[in-house]
């Protein structure tokens, strides 16, 4: 029973353009959302997060948007760079919960 879903397994984008990664969740108790980035043979590393009391959080080239009513969030990367080629995981947690629930990831390839 996957409570966090990333329906696009892969995304290819040209360098300099925008990458948009989508994530849907089903558990209405989730109130904190995180994005992780993973390179091959490495562990996931934290990228950006957003609390359910916000609808947008920005950090440099990365912006996460949250639509609570739709139970949907997205990660925008602009402009995309070759070093952004990686697997991106969406994760969610409820307040006071230690567990993070992850999606299956989206593989982003940035073309030169």
């Amino acid at each position: 029973d996957q409570q966090v879903k990333q329906n696009s397994p892969s995304l290819s984008v040209q360098e300099g353009r925008i990458s948009i990664l989508n994530c849907d969740y089903t558990n209405s108790m989730f109130d904190y959302f995180l994005w992780y980035k993973k390179y091959p043979a490495e562990g996931p590393t934290f990228l950006i997060s957003i609390s359910s009391i916000k609808d947008k959080n920005e950090d440099g080239r990365f912006t996460v948007f949250l639509n609570k009513s739709a139970k949907h969030l997205s990660l925008h990367i602009v402009p995309s760079q070759p070093g952004d080629s990686a697997v991106y995981f969406c994760a969610a947690s409820a307040m006071n919960d230690y567990k993070l629930s992850f999606g299956a990831g989206t593989t982003v390839t940035v073309r030169a």
Partner: protein
Amino acid sequence: DTAVSQTPKYLVTQMGNDKSIKCEQNLGHDTMYWYKQDSKKFLKIMFSYNNKELIINETVPNRFSPKSPDKAHLNLHINSLELGDSAVYFCASSQGQGIYGYTFGSGTRLTVV
């Protein structure tokens, strides 16, 4: 380097064997986790310890047993390995609940033949 380190990075073993994966963190975090990434790439939580106390124990076969000798270490022992246990196992740590994010180790790729 401050990090979460797990050993070994690769483990190839025969069915029926018993093996252990070790994890150590020097971040001073109070909570540690084991996640399994299966062939479909989902990251699924297995166990979590907070200050040496088991706080999350998901539905996994009882052939899997975690052990936390202190809050900086969390080991995973697997008895009677099966083909379906082949996966990448990630250790992680956090200071507090999941909303504060995890720091992951680089993973252990277990292959059962």
